[in-house]
Structures are given as C-alpha cells and as structure tokens.
C-alpha cells in the first residue's frame, strides 16, 4: 500500500507510540528519509511527547491511600443514607402492620410505580371517553315537563329509513306533536290532542306504513 504525505503525517503519533503495523512502519521510515517536512513534523510531536514525563512528575498527586479512604467513606455514607436506614430498620419489624407498611413503602418509593399508576389512569380516562355515546344519543322517554291535561301520549318508533317529511305527515294527520325522543332505539314520545282514543290513534299511525311500533307511554 502506498501512503501519501498526509497519511504519513497522520501516522506520526502512532509512530511515536509504536502503534504502527510492520507495513506502516516501513512506509513511514521511507517517508522520513524522503521528506524533511515529515521529519520536522515528527520533531514537533516528539517535543510534545517528551514533555509528559516532566508534566507527570510535576503533578501534585494526592496521597492515594488517603483519597481511597475518603472515597470509601463517601460510598459508605451514601449506602447508609437516611432513606436506606429506614428501609433497614423496617426489615427487622415482623408484625403484619409493619409488613403491610413495608410493602407500601417499598412499592411506592419507586418513581416507576408512580409513573405506572399515572399511565393506567390516562388509559382508563381515554377508554371511558372513547366509550361515551355522542351528545344527544341518550334522550329520556319522559316528557319534558308536565303536559296539559287531556293529551294522549304514546311511544312511537318509525321505520329506520323513514324520511322526515313522511314522519311529519303522519304526525300532522294524527294531530300529534313530538314532546320527547328520540331514544337510543329510536323511540319518540308524541302527544295527541283531541278526544280520539289512544287505540284509534295507534291504529292510524300503524296503518301509515312508516311507523313500526306504537305503545303506551306512562
């Protein structure tokens, strides 16, 4: 493999650290012979490398034994922090109350539990909201307010594909007015004025061909 001048320059630190492969080493040695520029660069890096023993010698290393002792003190302090002390203290209790308290303590101490509870709450809320019927789907079958005396009230269910104008025609023909509904299953409460019997009105509506059901409303 042939190495260009840039590649050889990049190898200088590796050359000084003895980290070149045999092939690279040969190429580098040849480069040093051929290129005074490369040799000058090597001298610059050598000066840097040569400063390290002095830099190390001048470094104020702390007494390592003492430092290690301080590290272990710190580790011991953290391992016997108040939180852990409480946990240890709980371990020696044996009554069921203590065990129950310990269960809650260890269970809910973890933030994972809090996050899990929060996630479950969000899921439940989403499910409940998604399952709620559209506004207006549930209509009471009770007439809104007290109706005047003398009115007949009936539950009426129109055929599902009945057009609005046909519904209106049946109601007008029978002197009926919708006073409630529709419910989820399509029931309306209609009020009829006049002195016709409930049964007569029901029969007339059923004969219209667009009413599927007529029943007593209480």
């Amino acid at each position: 493999m042939i190495y260009d001048a840039e590649a050889l320059k990049e190898m200088i630190p590796l050359y000084l650290n003895g980290q070149l492969s045999d092939e690279e080493q040969k190429a580098f040695a040849q480069g040093l012979k051929d290129s005074p520029e490369l040799a000058a660069e090597v001298a610059e890096y050598e000066a840097i490398q040569a400063s390290y023993p002095d830099l190390e010698a001048e470094t104020p290393f702390p007494p390592q034994d003492i430092l290690f002792g301080r590290i272990m003190d710190k580790i011991d302090r953290e391992e016997t922090s108040p939180v852990r002390d409480q946990a240890v203290a709980r371990e020696v209790k044996s009554g069921w109350r203590e065990k129950l308290a310990d269960f809650f303590y260890t269970t809910f101490r973890s933030p994972k539990v809090a996050w899990s509870v929060a996630v479950v709450q969000v899921v439940v809320m989403v499910v409940l909201l998604a399952g709620m019927p559209q506004r207006g789907t549930f209509q009471t079958l009770t007439a809104p307010g007290r109706l005047p005396d003398g009115l007949i009230t009936l539950n009426v269910v129109f055929d599902p594909d009945t057009r609005e104008k046909d519904m209106r025609a049946v109601l007008i023909d029978n002197g009926a007015t919708i006073v409630g509904g529709p419910s989820a299953d399509g029931r309306y409460i209609v009020a009829i004025a006049g002195n016709r019997s409930r049964q007569a009105v029901a029969d007339a509506m059923l004969q219209s061909g667009v009413v599927a059901f007529v029943g007593q409303h209480y």
Partner: protein, 186 residues
C-alpha cells in the same frame, strides 16, 4: 462494535466490583487512579478540584459497575465518567466561560523567559492551550490510546480525532511562539 475483551484485566475487576467486592475495587483504584487523576488535573488545572472530581469518579464507578456493558475498555469507560464530571464541574466553576476555550490563567504575554529552557516552555504552553486540545494530546501521548479508543471516548469520528490532534499541535506551536520559542527551536 463490541470491543470488550476477556484480555482486559480491569474487566474482571469491574465484575467483582459490581458484586460489591471492595478489595477488587481497591485493586482497580490502584491500577487506574494515577492516570485518572493526571487526566483530571491536566484538564482542570486545579489540584483541589481534580481531587474532588476523582472521588466522585470512583463513587460512580462503584455504583455503576453493574451497568458496564463491556463495549469499551474499562479505562475508557472510566475516562468517560471522569470527563463528564470534570466538564460538569468546570461549567459550574466557570459558568460564563466556554469550556472548549478554557485555558489556564497564566498570561501568555508575560512569559517567564529568564531561563530560556525550551522544554520548560513546551510544558508551559501545554497548560495554556484549550482543554479540548490538551485533552486529546494527553490521550495520545500520555495515555497512548489508539485513535479508535479516543474516538469512542469522545464520541467523535477517528478522522475528527486525527484533525483535532493536528490542530492541538498547531495551537501548541502558536502558543510557544507567543512565549518566544519558534518551532525551529525544537
């Protein structure tokens, strides 16, 4: 790339540390503490800060030994912890300074040239270049890390490591020039 090797003796020690073995922890400490301290001291230029951070490094090593996944050498992992803690501390200490441009407080315009010793000036210049440049030169020439390992530690590409080494040397020569030593004097 999984570079964990069973040949890394520190890996065996770290496994024992993860199990709470204090004597293994001491052994690991003895094997690495000088390098870690030297790195921290060189980076932070403050013995007291370096000592404090070194303590934190080993506390983190003790606590995090079980999390080591073996994807690098143990020392590389430890240098990573040291680096994070050191830069975190430096940011607190010098919240108004750009850490990458952090240099020692020595004034390059006031060099002590009474003893024109070029090696002394190289050393002085080595304390005056930016932390980032000082760090990469240390990794290459003191810790003798391969480029790949440095790239992994600094989370940069190998080519960036090479470039950074080059610019670190250039910055050093420039600083030396300011101190009165030209590269021809080397």
């Amino acid at each position: 790339m999984n570079r964990a090797t069973s040949a890394d003796p520190d890996h065996r020690l770290l496994k024992l540390v993860a199990e709470g073995d204090r004597s293994a922890f001491r052994e690991l400490y003895d094997a690495t503490s000088r390098r870690i301290y030297f790195y921290l001291y060189r980076l932070m230029q403050d013995a007291s800060l370096a000592e404090d951070v070194q303590m934190d490094v080993y506390v983190e090593v003790w606590k995090g030994a079980g999390k080591f996944r073996g994807q690098s050498k143990v020392t590389t992992w430890m240098f990573g912890i040291a680096r994070n803690l050191a830069f975190k501390t430096l940011r607190k200490q010098r919240s108004h300074a750009n850490i990458d441009d952090y240099v020692s407080l020595e004034d390059p315009d006031q060099p002590d040239l009474d003893a024109p010793d070029r090696q002394r000036i190289v050393k002085q210049a080595m304390t005056m270049i930016s932390a980032k440049h000082r760090e990469v030169l240390d990794f290459v020439f003191f810790h003798q890390m391969p480029y790949q390992e440095i790239a992994s530690l600094l989370d940069i590409s190998v080519n960036t490591v090479k470039t950074r080494v080059y610019y670190a040397k250039a910055a050093l020569l420039k600083t030396m020039d300011e101190l009165g030593v030209t590269k021809d004097d080397l």
